[in-house]
Symmetry: C2
C-alpha cells in the first residue's frame, strides 16, 4: 500500500494505514466496558461476543474483575498480549488519559464513541485528542461517532441493539457517514432490503481521520467495490475533490450532501458545526470529480447497488415484462432519463416470434404477457443476452400472476452470472414479491420497486461506465459510448 491509486508514488500516512486495525483487528480492547446491561460499554462487548468476532476481546474497567465472562483489566497497559484496536466509551474528561495509554500500548486503531468535544464547543479537548493520536500515528475515528461495522470480520462497535438497528450481510458497498443517526438508519434500511455492505463507518467529529482519509483507505481496500458517502460539511473541499477524482477512475462513489439549501446549511451548521457550501458549487464539484450525486436517501443505495453488475457498454435498454402497463411506464422513464429504447435485431425478433405465443409482441418493450411462466422468461432473457443492440436488460417480474413461480429467480441469477451485460430487475408488490426481491438482491441483481427508480439508477450507471471507460479498458463489443 505504498502507492496511491492512480496517483504519484508517495507514502500513505500512517493514520490511514492504521485503519486496518480499526476494520480488521485480531484483538480489541473495550475501554468503558460495563457489567450494567443498559450501558453502552456493555452493549459493545456483548455485540462483539454475540456477533461472532473471531479475535480476542479485552474489557477495560478499573472496578470489575470480569465482564460477560471475560477477564476485565484496569487499563490497556495491564494487558500482556498485543492489542490492535480499542473502542472508547467513557466520559469526555477521561478520554485523553485513556487515549495516551492506547498510544503507549501500541494500539493502532481507536474508535472513540464518547461525545463532549467540538460538537459542544470543547475544541481544546478535541485538539488534545488529535495531538495524542497524531503523536502515536493512531487511526482515530470520532469522537462523537457511532462506530464501525465490518460484517466480514465481525467488528461491530455500534452500540444499538440488533432489533433496533439491523446489521447488513457482507457485500461490496462501503458506506461512510458523518452523521451517526442518518448513517445508522440508512444501514438499518439497507439491511432490511437485503443489501450487502463491506464496511460502515460513522466518523463523527473527524478529529483525526476524516472523509478524505477514509476514501483513501477504501480506494485500495479489496473488499470495497462501491463507496457511498453521506456528507454534511466538508473541511477541505479541494482535497476531497482531488481524492475523489483519483478514486472514481477505479471505483464508483455515490454521495449525498445535506445542507445544500441556505436554510439547510444553517441547520447543518448548528448540527455538526461544519461549514456547508452552496448547492451549485457542490453539484458542479461532484460532477467534475466523477462522483454520482444522490438527491434523496432512497437514491443513495438505489444508485450504489446497481454497481454490483458488470458495467454496461451503452445506453440501449431492452425491457422484458409480464405486465404490459409496467412496460409502458418503463418506456416513459427511458425518455425521462435520456436513455434509448433498444431496437431488437432481426434475428432476435425472428427468434422471439418463433418461441413466444402469437399474442406476445416481439418488440421492445417485450410484453411476454400475464400468463408468462419462468420458461417464457428464459426464452426472452436468452434472446436479449445475445442481441448486441441491447446494452442493459430491464427485467420486470410481477410475482402476483398465477403463472409465475420462484424458478424465474434462478433463471435471472444464472443469466446475471454470465457477466455479459447488466440485468436490472423491477418487482412491485407485497410480502411474496419482497421475498423474491431479497433473493435477487443477495445474488447481486439490483431490484427496484418501480420502473422509474430503476431507470434513474440505470442512467447513473451508464454515465459512470462512460467515465470509467476513459481510464480503463472495458470488454465491450464496441468501445463504450452512449448511442444516440
Amino acid at each position: 500500500m505504498e502507492k496511491r491509486l492512480g496517483g504519484k508514488l508517495e507514502k500513505i500516512p500512517q493514520k490511514i494505514r492504521n485503519l486496518d486495525a480499526v476494520f480488521k483487528p485480531s484483538s480489541i480492547a473495550v475501554i468503558g466496558a460495563s457489567r450494567e446491561p443498559n450501558k453502552i460499554g456493555h452493549v459493545i462487548v456483548k455485540n462483539f461476543i454475540d456477533g461472532g468476532f473471531g479475535g480476542k476481546v479485552y474489557p477495560i474497567n478499573p472496578n470489575a474483575e470480569e465482564i460477560l465472562g471475560l477477564k476485565a483489566y484496569k487499563s490497556v497497559l495491564e494487558i500482556k498480549e498485543k492489542v490492535d484496536s480499542a473502542v472508547i466509551a467513557i466520559p469526555a474528561a477521561a478520554v485523553a488519559g485513556a487515549l495516551e495509554e492506547c498510544g503507549k500500548k501500541g494500539i493502532k486503531g481507536v474508535v472513540l464513541i464518547s461525545g463532549g468535544f467540538s460538537e459542544v464547543g470543547n475544541h481544546k479537548g478535541e485538539k488534545k485528542l488529535a495531538e495524542i493520536a497524531n503523536r502515536y500515528g493512531m487511526a482515530l475515528i470520532g469522537p462523537n461517532c457511532m462506530g464501525v461495522i465490518t460484517p466480514a470480520s465481525r467488528v461491530d462497535s455500534v452500540f444499538l441493539p440488533i432489533y433496533k438497528l439491523g446489521r447488513p450481510r457482507v457485500g461490496p458497498i462501503s458506506f461512510i457517514s458523518q452523521s451517526g443517526a442518518v448513517g445508522g438508519c440508512i444501514v438499518d434500511l439497507a439491511s432490511r432490503a437485503g443489501i450487502g455492505m463491506n464496511k460502515f463507518v460513522s466518523y463523527g467529529n473527524a478529529a483525526v481521520v476524516d472523509e478524505c482519509d477514509l476514501l483513501e483507505y477504501l480506494a485500495t481496500d479489496k473488499g470495497t467495490q462501491i463507496i457511498v458517502v453521506y456528507l454534511e460539511g466538508v473541511k477541505d473541499g479541494r482535497r476531497l475533490l482531488e481524492v475523489a477524482r483519483r478514486i472514481t477512475r477505479k471505483k464508483p462513489v455515490v454521495v449525498i450532501k445535506a445542507g445544500k439549501s441556505a436554510a439547510g446549511a444553517e441547520a447543518a451548521k448548528s448540527h455538526t458545526g461544519s461549514l456547508a457550501g452552496s448547492s451549485e458549487a457542490y453539484r458542479a464539484a461532484f460532477k467534475q470529480s466523477g462522483m454520482i450525486e444522490a438527491q434523496t436517501l432512497e437514491q443513495l443505495f438505489d444508485f450504489a447497488k446497481i454497481f454490483d453488475q458488470v458495467l454496461p457498454c451503452g445506453n440501449r435498454i431492452g425491457i422484458i415484462t409480464n405486465g404490459g402497463g409496467m412496460g409502458v411506464l418503463a418506456t416513459d422513464s427511458i425518455e425521462d432519463e435520456g436513455l434509448q429504447l433498444s431496437k431488437f435485431s432481426e434475428e432476435t425478433v425472428a427468434q422471439l416470434k418463433a418461441s413466444l405465443p402469437p399474442y406476445a409482441n416481439a418488440r421492445n418493450p417485450l410484453d411476454i404477457i400475464g400468463d408468462a411462466d419462468s420458461h417464457r422468461y428464459e426464452i426472452a432473457i436468452n434472446a436479449l443476452m445475445k442481441d448486441e443492440s441491447v446494452d442493459v436488460i430491464l427485467l420486470i417480474i410481477l410475482f402476483q400472476t398465477a403463472a409465475i413461480d420462484s424458478s424465474v429467480v434462478n433463471i435471472a441469477i444464472r443469466a446475471s452470472d454470465l457477466q455479459k451485460k447488466p440485468i436490472i430487475a423491477v418487482c412491485t408488490g407485497g410480502e411474496y414479491t419482497e421475498m423474491h426481491k431479497r433473493i435477487l438482491e443477495s445474488y447481486g441483481i439490483p431490484t427496484y420497486a418501480s420502473p422509474s427508480s430503476a431507470m434513474r439508477s440505470i442512467s447513473r450507471f451508464i454515465k459512470y461506465a462512460e467515465h470509467y471507460s476513459k481510464y480503463n479498458e472495458m470488454k465491450c463489443p464496441v468501445p463504450i459510448k452512449t448511442q444516440k
Copy 2:
C-alpha cells in the same frame, strides 16, 4: 343520488347507480365456478367464502351439484332468490349468453373477468356485450379485467391467491386502474405498507363502465375520501376533465398516466389498444381540473395517503427530529418544493427553552437530539400544535436510538386525533421501524421513508388545500393562502 356532486341536478345514469350492486351486493353469482382448485372460477368462490363475505354466494356451473360446499346452479335463471351481482369467468364465446341471462334475472352489476374481446381485436364481440348490458342498464365492469375488491363488504373477485397479492385493510382511498397487472401490484404494495383502501377496481377494456363512470360513482360514495387513478389511454378526454373538475372540488384525485412519452404511447397502444395523448396535454389537463399528478408508482400512494390528515392552512412547515442530519435534509427539501420553514413564535421558543435540555436548539428544524425520549417528543409536538405560525408538523422519528420507545407512537396519534393541523411522519429504517410505521399508517398518520418523499407529498397536499379552499369553507385561523 339524484344530484351530481357540484353539478346541475340531473339523473345519474342507471349503469352508475347500479355500481352499488358491484361494490356492496347482498348476493353474488359466480358464473364459471369450478371444483378444480387451480381454476379462476374456483379461486373466486373460495375468496368469497374465506374472505368472510356476508351475503349469499351462488356458484354457477352446468356440470356440478356442489362447489366448495355450496349448491351449484346450471344458470342464474335457476336461482329462486334475488341476485344482486355476478362475476363471470368463462370462455369468451359463452359470455354473451351468460350476460343475457344475468339481465333476465335482474342482476344489476357484473364483473366480467374473461378476456378475448377488443384486446385481441374482437371488437364485434365486445360491442355485443355492451349492447346487452346497456339494454338491461347493468353496470358491467370489464371485460378483460381483474375485478373488484371492497374490503368493508368483503367483496373480492380478484382471482389471485392472498399469498401472492395481499389484500388491503379498510381505509379512505379508492383506486381505479385500467391495467389489471399494474393495479394488482400496487394494491399488493400498498397492503404491505399498511395503507387502507375503500374500493379497488380493475376496469379492463371498459366496454360499458369506464373511468369517468367510476369517478362519478366514487364522487358521491361515502366511504371514498381520496381517489387514485391509473390511466393508460382515455376514451373521452373532455368528459374526464369535466368530471374531474367537479370532483376535485370535494375530493382529491391523484392520477398517474402511463404512455406519456412517444415511445411509451406506442407501447400503450399495443398493450390496451387505447390512444395515448401527448405528455404536455395531459399534464396541463390534469392541473387545470385540479387533479394531482404522480410521476412514479411510488408517488401514487405517497400523495394519496397524506389526505387522511386534516387539510393544512398554509405552507409553513415545523420540523421535529431526534436526528440532526434528518432535519438538515428536510430543510433542504422545503426549499426544493417551494415551501416555507416556519419561524416559531416567541412563546414557542421560550417554552421550548424552558422545557428542553440546553443543548437542544429551540428553533426550526427542532433537533430534540438523539437522546430524546417520548416525553421530549410530547413537549415538542404540543408546542408546535399550539404555534399558529406552524401549518404542518413534520415529525421525524429515528427508532434506532436507545432512548426512544414505542410510546412515541401514541403521542403522535393523540395529537393527530385533535384534527387541528396535519402531522406527517418520517421514519427511516428496518423491521423495528417498519413495525411502528405500520401502526402510524393504520391510525391515519402518513409515514415516509425520507424527508424528501414526505416534503414532495406535503407540497401536493398544500396545493390541493388551496384549490379546495376556493370552493369550500375551511376552519383556518386565517383564510388559507400559502405564505411567501
